[in-house]
């Protein structure tokens, strides 16, 4: 089957190569096919000797994990609220479809452009600063709006809340409306209905959305470099930096480390909610 072939040639095989090459040696020009753990040793250099200070690798992963947590919490709250509104408060199916499409369309446009589009708003002379200055809230332009941790987190939420909205909306639409009626007839308040009926039944969607958002933030390097102004390190950026130096084995080693970290997170999420059972 050609479908399977594409994945074999362009996904499974490449991953195998990444793992293989991560154990290769290298010099300034090329990779040398000889088994060594040099790339890993260099990646974790100083992790034991520098204690209690964190080595570069651990510090980077910690900072990336922090972004994951912030972005995950924000996208979950926003995504859930939007999906909840669409699924339970919009009555006509046509309006529902149209509003859902309105949320989807930006997903079909370029991420980089959606990042750039924050520049005129958040920049030194941007709209936000102009507004703050004109109402005399601040005297000098606020500098931390753009190319900062704030703008990176903002861009993530802006770009990827869709990945929460879609699966949660899908889960909510599958909830049997009779359950809602039953809860209502039993005298449940809107809040009780939300916490006792809707949230438990939307769990699969929440889990799928969470996996998407967390893995995207873990592996991202473009948002970090465009919105972070080159100041913020991330797990994905380590790979990109090493690739720019054309050093395949160390890049592959960090890719394997990233893969392991990602799989660890997914396993933990899977423990909390058994995705396969809930599907």
């Amino acid at each position: 089957m050609p479908f399977g072939l594409v994945f074999a040639v362009f996904f499974v095989l490449p991953l195998a190569f990444v793992v293989m090459v991560s154990f290769w040696d290298y010099n300034d020009y090329e990779m040398l096919p000889a088994f060594t753990s040099r790339s890993y040793a260099e990646s974790f250099e100083g992790c034991l000797t520098q204690l209690p200070d964190l080595c570069t690798m651990l510090a980077t992963y910690l900072s990336t994990a922090k972004f994951c947590l912030i972005v995950w919490a924000l996208t979950l709250i926003i995504g859930f609220t939007v999906a909840y509104f669409l699924a339970f408060y919009v009555r006509s199916p046509t309006t529902q479809m149209v509003l859902f499409l309105v949320c989807t369309i930006p997903f079909w446009t370029s991420n980089v452009i959606r990042m750039i589009s924050w520049i005129p708003l958040l920049g030194r002379n941007g709209l936000v600063n102009q507004m703050l200055m004109s109402v005399h809230l601040v005297d000098a332009p606020v500098e931390w709006l753009l190319y900062s941790q704030f703008s990176v987190a903002l861009a993530f939420v802006h770009l990827f809340t869709f990945f929460m909205v879609a699966p949660i909306f899908n889960s909510m639409m599958r909830i049997d409306r009779r359950l809602i009626e039953a809860a209502y007839d039993s005298g449940a308040s809107a809040w009780q209905m939300l916490t006792n009926v809707i949230i438990p039944l939307s769990k699969p969607g929440i889990a799928i959305g969470s996996i998407f958002v967390v893995t995207i933030v873990m592996g991202d390097y473009i948002t970090f470099s465009v919105m972070g102004g080159g100041q913020i390190a991330s797990a994905g950026k380590i790979i990109a930096t090493r690739l720019n130096a054309l050093q395949f084995p160390p890049a592959a080693a960090s890719a394997v480390i990233l893969l392991c970290a990602t799989m660890l997170i997914i396993t933990v999420l899977n423990r909390i909610v058994d995705v396969r059972k809930e599907l």
Binding site: M1, F3, P14, F88, I105, W108
Partner: protein, 294 residues
């Protein structure tokens, strides 16, 4: 729950409105700013209204080979779209029955969505480097002597994009066939249609609107893709890659003009797809059922 609009409705509707503003606001701002006058800068105020930056863009002023990147991205997007539709459709049909390895294939496809793009990109790059080395060392001389690299837009680049578009295509196909009424097919078979006739005249017309949706995913995901392209495109960059390179040196509004042009293409494709889907749906509603007719 169904009597009158509760107060929560208005609070949630307001929240939704703010969310939509959050989604579209920045895009609208760069759309407006891309018509900045020749002396205008990166932010408001507008110094007049002009097409200056669009003109500069297409003349290639200051920016490397944008027209070339534009054409490359468009060509690649169309090929990716065609292959995504074809392969997803075949896979969707195959997945309706359990076959050997179907579970494994499904998990591989989902994993392809979840594994960070940069890792996939790196893997493909290494794979093609190794292939190059093998061909140069062991290949027949007519290959070995002329070969520079097997990496390119339509080899490694195409493959990289397909690992991103095909899982989406497959998921859409699953959604389609989960809702497909199998009785249509049985009716066709009972009237003596061959499997091919059933597919051609019964199944395809019914699922066509959704298949267009798959094509939409295929094109737009490829058109905007960077992370997977980064290591796999060979010597020429695609449009989003050029755009990302430009972000490090943003000095004047031509980057907004480029952004507006790129988004215009995305919107045009989305609009064409949505209109086509709407027309097909309307046709199905009109001609779909002859129940109760003489």
């Amino acid at each position: 729950m169904n009597e009158g609009r509760p107060a929560a409705f208005y609070a949630l509707a307001a929240f939704f409105g703010l969310f939509v503003l959050f989604l579209y606001g920045p895009m609208i701002v760069i759309f407006i700013l891309s018509f900045q006058g020749p002396t205008g800068g990166l932010t408001f105020p507008m110094n007049g209204v002009s097409l200056h930056w669009f003109q500069r863009l297409w003349e290639g002023g200051g920016i490397v080979d944008i027209a070339g990147a534009f054409k490359r991205s468009l060509a690649l997007g169309l090929v990716v779209m065609a292959l995504t539709v074809l392969l997803s459709l075949m896979a969707g049909l195959a997945f309706r029955k359990k076959f050997k390895g179907s579970d494994a294939l499904f998990y591989v496809a989902v994993a392809s969505l979840i594994v960070p793009s940069i890792v996939t990109s790196l893997g493909i790059a290494i794979e093609f480097h190794v292939l190059d080395d093998l061909l140069k060392t062991y290949g027949p001389s007519w290959i070995a002597d002329n070969l520079t690299t097997t990496m390119g837009q339509f080899t490694s680049g195409l493959g990289a994009h397909l690992t991103w578009t095909l899982p989406f295509g497959l998921l859409v196909m699953f959604a389609i066939f989960n809702r497909f009424d199998i009785r249509y097919e049985e009716a066709a078979r009972d009237q003596g249609a061959t499997p091919w006739q059933t597919l051609r005249h019964v199944v395809l017309p019914i699922i066509l609107p959704s298949v267009i949706g798959v094509g939409l995913f295929g094109f737009t995901l490829s058109w905007d893709e960077i992370a997977r392209s980064s290591q796999t495109m060979g010597e020429h960059n695609t449009l989003p890659m050029e755009l990302q390179a430009l972000t490090t040196t943003v000095t004047n509004p031509d980057i907004y003009a480029l952004g507006t042009s790129t988004t215009a293409v995305s919107f045009a494709v989305i609009a064409i797809a949505l209109v086509a889907i709407a027309i097909l749906r309307a046709r199905q509603a009109r001609y779909g059922s002859d129940a109760g007719q003489a």
